[in-house]
Amino acid sequence: MAIAFASLHERLFYQALRIRLVEQRLVELYPSDAIQSPVHLSVGQEAVAVGACEALAREDLLFGSYRSHAFYLAKGGDLGAMLAELCGKATGSGGGKAGSMHLAAPDVGFMGSSAIVASTIPHAVGAALATQRLGTKRIAVAVFGDGATEEGVYHESLNFAALHRLPVLFLCENNGLAVHSTLAARQAYRITAHAEAYGLPTSACEAGADFDEVHRVVLAAVTAVRRGEGPRLVECRTYRWLEHVGIGEDFDAGYRTRAEFEAWRAHDPLVRETALVARFAPAIRAEIAAAEAFAEASPWPAEDELLTDVA
């Protein structure tokens, strides 16, 4: 259905709200066991995906992590195929072999997601190498969390990208947590300063719940990368509302406080701008209901699918 937006803000708001309502619906559905897949929800982090993907072209290649519902949808992945995938159906994005952690939509440049932390970062670098060799216009984007910057392969990827001035954007969603471990317990460096040591210009966005601000910061970096000025790193501070994996809150677990959450929530446009929520939510809920019905009506994969596409 065509929805008229009066501004870029409204369009981005709609997309961010759509992702939040999808995941809140997953929270409602989860106890039914229709989704038999671990889910790492992006609730609270939608604005990073929406702001960043607005700065990208459809043909740009983006590589994600296990927490990728938001980026899959923001990059243009099909909602019905996502819900069907979460339910293990044949019509899912991975034909029932992917689940929540391995969504992919290569037709819109969402090049897959991996449950091994940091493991797709070099893939974005390699895709950028291919772009450089083949002379195509598109760029590549690696999306990862703060924890991924602790992996050796992240350092290897920064070095190679900088060495060959590859058209790749490193986009760090820093939610301050690796499962239940805080940054202070894990990192002896600052993420931007570290990347600068490899010669990458960096920028930071402290207001990671503000998709307009994310878009502004990422667009500047993307423009430079697209101009052939070499790789860039953008760090967006953000906040994960729910537990690492699953649908619950876990503020009573002792590793973070509800006050932190309330501070982020107080600045969240999806919470504050109730008039836009009221305007957009009905159409979004209708779309979600249709996607759910599609997933539910879809067939299970045929038995012989077990051994197709192996090698």
Partner: protein
């Protein structure tokens, strides 16, 4: 060093070339014929050029296509995967199998899974070339033969070419026709060996096993350079005792031809498996599984397996010689298996007759 001759009888329509030259020729042809091919690895553009197999190619095709890399095995494997997803065909080299252990996350968790876990929507066409070291004190970390760890994982295809013709026909086929990841494990001591190949070789799939020498009394299933040892042992037993050994070159260790192996065992009733690696949980164990699941009744004697001693590889010469199977021990095992007793009276080659190849190898690498 002069290559040891192997299978080099000149015939019309054939030519002779070393394993190394076969590799260099296919690397060059891949670059010349396919603009999307790149070769990357530590030292691919230096004067040693992966034992000569990429010699001169950086000058001819440019260092953007024949790329030296940082010392970053996992990262560069990931870069190769991403490059494949982005439309290139990467050929990634490691001068020892051992170094690829640093890339196992990318190989096992990513490269092997990309096609399946995204429901066939993404493919990773690429070739990884690994080299097994042996001799001249290569030691614990320059000698490993880890094909079974790789072949164990669904999603990977693993070949171990024992003959230059597999390279000359197989590598071009992989680049032109195959859209998945393949790991080829080459043996350092094969590089100087000369082989006879067709003058005109059409690209052909390397995912096969084959009978390298027909026989009727005992079957040897062998991998990589062990195929050459098996052929020498077969020749010795034929000439000294009239024992006809059938040698099966397993070649594709991840997808071996189980029917071919079983058929041979049904014919001979006796099986010796000869691998470049350790016997436990490896090719030796797997070939036994293939036969036992199909025709255990065909075996008229217990299976014999031979491989590296169950220890890390030692460096000192006397221990290292003991670590690997040699021709004398192989012939003894085959004579015992074929005749059914120890006092078979068949003359064994002395230790000094161990192949010229191994004797002549003086390293350093």
């Amino acid at each position: 060093m002069t290559g040891a001759a192997f299978d080099t009888v000149a015939e019309p329509g054939h030519r002779t070339l070393t394993y190394r030259d076969a590799l260099r020729e296919t690397m060059r042809d891949a670059l010349a014929r396919h603009p999307h091919v790149i070769i990357l690895g530590q030292g691919v553009d230096d004067h040693k050029a992966i034992f000569g197999t990429t010699l001169g190619l950086a000058d001819e095709f440019g260092r953007e296509r024949v790329m030296d890399t940082p010392i970053a095995e996992e990262g560069m494997t990931g870069v190769a995967i991403g490059a494949a997803l982005g439309g290139l065909y990467p050929i990634h080299t490691h001068i020892r199998v051992d170094f690829a252990m640093l890339a196992m996350n990318q190989i096992v968790n990513l490269m092997a899974k990309y096609r399946y876990m995204f429901g066939g929507r993404l493919t990773v066409p690429m070739l990884i070339r690994l080299v097994i070291g042996r001799g001249w004190g290569q030691g614990a970390q320059h000698s490993q033969s880890l094909q079974s760890m790789l072949a164990h994982v669904p999603g990977l295809r693993v070949v171990m070419p024992a003959h230059a013709d597999v390279i000359v026909a197989g590598y071009p086929w992989l680049v032109a026709r195959h859209d998945g990841p393949v790991i080829s494990i080459e043996h350092r001591l094969l590089y100087d060996v000369e082989f006879r190949v067709g003058a005109e070789t059409a690209p052909a799939s390397p995912f096969f096993s084959r009978v390298a020498r027909p026989g009727k009394h005992v079957t040897v299933v062998a991998t990589s350079i062990m195929v050459l040892d098996a052929l020498r042992a077969a020749e010795h037993l034929a000439s000294t005792a009239g024992i006809q050994v059938e040698v099966v070159d397993l070649n594709c260790v991840s997808h071996p031809d189980a029917a071919l192996v079983t058929e041979s065992v049904v014919k001979t009733g006796k099986l010796l498996v000869l691998d470049t690696s350790w016997q436990a949980y490896g090719v030796c164990a797997e070939v036994c599984r293939l036969v036992c699941e199909r025709r255990p009744d065909a075996l008229s004697a217990p299976v014999v397996t031979m491989g590296m001693a169950p220890a890390p590889c030692p460096t000192g010469k006397t221990l290292e010689d003991r670590f690997y199977p040699n021709l004398r021990r192989l012939v003894a095992a085959l004579a015992r298996l074929a005749t059914g007793h120890d006092d078979h009276g068949i003359p064994l080659p002395d230790d000094a007759s161990q192949t010229d190849v191994y004797r002549r190898f003086r390293g350093p690498f």
